[in-house]
C-alpha cells in the first residue's frame, strides 16, 4: 500500500454531480468493468417497493390491496354472470355496458392510486442538511445540538409552523407529512390508505377521489341491479318467493351482502372527501383540527381559495405535479463514485478499477463498509476507497426519527371508531382494531392524540376507515 500513488479524495473538492448522459459513462465503465448503470429507484432510501424497473411504486406492506381488488373483481364478476343475463332479458342491455364502464373506471383508478408516486419528497442532500443546520445553529456552539423542531412562516397572513424532519433532514414544506410506514415525507399528505396499499398525497389524491366516487357508483349500481333482479324474480315466480329466487341465483346473495355493507361506508367516505375537496383540506388537517380554530385563535385555512368551485377544480383538474423522485433516472456518475474527478486526477492510476467498485447508494456503502477488511486484502487500495465514499446517503446516517409526524394522526382513532363503521369485512376489521391497540402505547411514536369525538355522519365513518391505516405491528 505504501508504494501506490493513491491520494485520498476530499469529498468537498469534488465537482458538482452533473447528469451527464449515462451512455457515455456506461461505455467507460464497461471498459474497466462490465456494470450496468443503476437507476435511482435501486438506491431509494424509503420503504417502498418498485416493479417494472421503477415504473411502479408501492408501499412496503401492500396492506389489503389484494383484498380490495379481490372484492371488486368477485362482486363485479358475479354481477356479470348472474344478474346481467336476467336484466338484459327483462330490462335493457345498457346495464352491462354501464356496469362494465364503471368497473373499468374503478379498477384503473385503483391501480393508479396504488402504483403511482403520491408526492414523495426526496431527502435532503448532505450539503443541504449541513447548510440548514449551520443556519440554525449559528451560535458557534461546538457541541452538537439537534436543530430546533419548528420554523414559522407566514402564509396568506396565517402563521404556519414548519416542522423539521429528522429522517429527511429538512424543514418540511407546509402540508407535508412524514409517513412512517413508507418512511418518506409526502407532499400534501392526506393519509396512508391500507385499502390501496399506498400513501395518498398531492399526486395521487385525484386518482383516489375518483376511485372512491366511482366505487360508490359501482356499488350502488350493483346493489340496485341485484335488488331489481331479485324483486323481478320473486314477482315472476308468483308464490314461490324470495328464497327460490336466491337459490336460483346464489351469486346475487353474495353480491347483496357485500354491497349492502360496503355501500354505506364507501358513500360516507366519498361524502367526507367531497367535503375535504370543497374546503381544500387534507384528512390529516381535518382530524388534527389545524384550521378549525379549536385553540380559540382566529385561524382559517390559508390554502383555501374561499370558493367551493375553485377548490374542487384545483384539486381535481389542476395541473398534474411531476414526480420529484425521478425513479427511472440514472444515478449521476459522480455518485457512482466520483469517477469523473478520479478520472481526471488519478487517470494514470489503476486504482480506478477499485474505485468503481465502491458504488454509491445505501446498499453499496453498507456493503463496502462491511467488506472493507476483505477489500484491503484483495485490493491494496480497497480500504482507502471505502474512506473516499462520501456518505451522501442520509438513510445510512439518519437518527431514528423520534418525531412521528401527523401521518399517525388518522390512526389513533381506530380504537374509538372501529365499531361505528359497518364491518365491510369483519375479520380484517377485528385484525385492524387489534393492531390499533398494539400501536397506541408505543413510546417511540410522538402521536398527537387529539380527542376526536365521534362527529356526525360521514366524518366518523371516514375516520373509522382512516383509523385502519396502522403502523406495522409485525
Amino acid at each position: 500500500m505504501k508504494n501506490c500513488e493513491y491520494q485520498q479524495i476530499d469529498p468537498q473538492a469534488l465537482p458538482i454531480p452533473t447528469p451527464t448522459p449515462p451512455a457515455q459513462h456506461n461505455g467507460s465503465d464497461k471498459r474497466e468493468e462490465p456494470r450496468r448503470a443503476r437507476r435511482k429507484w435501486e438506491v431509494f432510501p424509503g420503504k417502498n417497493r418498485f416493479y417494472c424497473d421503477g415504473r411502479i411504486i408501492v408501499a412496503r406492506q401492500s396492506g389489503v390491496l389484494p383484498l380490495t381488488l379481490g372484492l371488486i373483481l368477485v362482486t363485479s364478476g358475479l354481477f356479470f354472470i348472474f344478474d346481467c343475463p336476467f336484466l338484459v332479458k327483462h330490462l335493457t342491455s345498457c346495464i352491462p355496458v354501464i356496469g362494465g364502464g364503471l368497473f373499468v373506471f374503478v379498477v384503473i383508478t385503483l391501480l393508479q392510486t396504488s402504483f403511482s408516486d403520491p408526492g414523495i419528497l426526496p431527502r435532503a442532500t448532505p450539503d443541504e442538511a449541513a447548510d440548514i443546520e449551520k443556519q440554525i445553529d449559528n451560535t458557534g456552539n461546538t457541541s452538537y445540538r439537534p436543530p430546533p423542531r419548528t420554523k414559522e412562516v407566514l402564509i396568506n397572513q396565517q402563521v404556519v409552523k414548519l416542522k423539521y424532519c429528522f429522517t429527511c433532514k429538512m424543514f418540511r414544506p407546509p402540508r407535508t407529512s412524514h409517513c412512517s410506514l413508507c418512511d418518506n415525507c409526502v407532499e400534501r399528505f392526506d393519509h396512508h390508505c391500507p385499502w390501496v396499499g399506498n400513501c395518498v398525497g398531492k399526486r395521487n389524491y385525484r386518482f383516489f377521489y375518483t376511485f372512491i366516487v366511482s366505487l360508490s357508483f359501482l356499488t350502488a349500481f350493483i346493489f340496485g341491479c341485484v335488488t331489481t333482479h331479485l324483486a323481478l324474480s320473486t314477482w315472476a315466480q308468483g308464490g314461490k318467493g324470495l328464497v327460490f329466487a336466491l337459490q336460483e341465483s346464489p351469486g346475487s346473495a353474495v353480491e347483496l351482502v357485500i354491497c349492502f355493507f360496503s355501500v354505506w361506508s364507501i358513500l360516507g367516505l366519498s361524502g367526507f372527501h367531497t367535503y375535504l375537496v370543497a374546503s381544500n383540506l387534507t384528512t390529516n388537517e381535518d382530524i388534527k383540527g389545524s384550521w378549525s380554530g379549536k385553540s380559540g385563535e382566529d385561524v382559517t385555512n390559508p390554502y383555501s381559495h374561499k370558493n367551493i368551485f375553485i377548490n374542487c377544480c384545483t384539486m381535481l383538474c389542476g395541473p398534474m405535479p411531476p414526480s420529484l423522485i425521478d425513479r427511472r433516472g440514472f444515478l449521476p456518475t459522480d455518485e457512482s463514485v466520483q469517477t469523473a474527478s478520479t478520472d481526471i486526477e488519478l487517470s494514470t492510476l489503476a486504482a480506478k478499477n477499485e474505485i468503481n467498485v465502491c458504488t454509491q447508494g445505501t446498499k453499496g456503502l453498507l456493503e463496502s463498509a462491511t467488506r472493507s477488511p476483505l477489500l484491503s486484502t484483495s485490493c491494496p487500495q480497497g480500504k482507502q476507497t471505502v474512506h473516499t465514499c462520501p456518505d451522501n446517503n442520509p438513510a445510512v446516517n439518519s437518527d431514528p426519527s423520534p418525531e412521528l409526524s401527523t401521518s399517525c394522526g388518522p390512526r389513533h382513532t381506530a380504537s374509538s371508531q372501529g365499531n361505528t363503521s359497518p364491518p365491510r369485512h369483519t375479520k380484517s376489521r377485528a385484525k385492524k382494531s387489534k393492531r390499533a391497540a398494539l400501536h397506541i402505547p408505543n413510546p417511540a411514536f410522538d402521536v398527537p392524540v387529539s380527542p376526536t369525538s365521534p362527529d356526525a355522519g360521514p366524518s366518523s365513518r371516514a375516520r373509522g376507515h382512516k383509523g385502519s391505516s396502522l403502523s406495522p405491528s409485525h
Partner: protein, 143 residues
C-alpha cells in the same frame, strides 16, 4: 494561454469553495416560489440585480407551470373522463414547462454564471426544495 473554460472543464478542474441554497418562499402558499433575497456569499461574484432577475424569472416559470388556467382545466377534465390514462401517453403542461426551465437554467449558466465561477443546479434535481448555487474557487485570482 487563453482562459477559455467549457462548462465540463470548469466542473472537473475547479474546486468547490461553497454552496449556497436559495430556499422556498411559502408566503403565497404551497406554490413553487423561491426567495429572491440576495445571499451574502454571492456579493463578490455576481451583480445583485442579475441574480434577482434570474430567480424572479424562475418563479414566473414555475407559476406558469402551476397556473390554474383554462388549459389546465381542459387537460384535467379530459384526464378525469379517461380515468387519467392520458397521463401515461401525454406529456403534461407542467412537464413541458419544466423542460423550458431546464433550458433557461442551462442558458443562464452558460451566459452569466459559469464565467463568474458559479453554477446553478436545476431545482427539480433537488426535489424543488432549493436552488443550489455552487461557488467554485476563483482560480484566476490565485494565478
Amino acid at each position: 494561454m487563453a482562459e477559455t473554460h467549457s462548462l465540463q472543464d470548469m466542473r472537473q478542474q475547479a474546486a468547490v469553495a461553497a454552496k449556497v441554497f436559495i430556499q422556498r418562499d411559502y408566503t403565497n402558499g404551497t406554490v413553487c416560489q423561491f426567495q429572491t433575497k440576495f445571499p451574502s456569499e454571492l456579493e463578490t461574484r455576481i451583480d445583485k440585480q442579475q441574480f434577482e432577475e434570474t430567480v424572479r424569472t424562475l418563479n414566473n416559470l414555475y407559476a406558469e407551470a402551476e397556473k390554474l388556467g383554462s388549459q389546465s382545466y381542459i387537460e384535467g377534465c379530459l384526464a378525469c373522463l379517461t380515468a387519467y390514462t392520458v397521463f401515461l401517453c401525454m406529456e403534461t403542461h407542467y412537464e413541458k414547462v419544466l423542460k423550458k426551465i431546464a433550458k433557461y437554467i442551462q442558458e443562464q449558466n452558460d451566459k452569466i454564471y459559469t464565467p463568474r465561477g458559479l453554477l446553478l443546479t436545476d431545482p427539480i434535481e433537488r426535489g424543488l426544495r432549493v436552488v443550489e448555487v455552487t461557488i467554485f474557487e476563483d482560480r484566476s485570482l490565485t494565478r
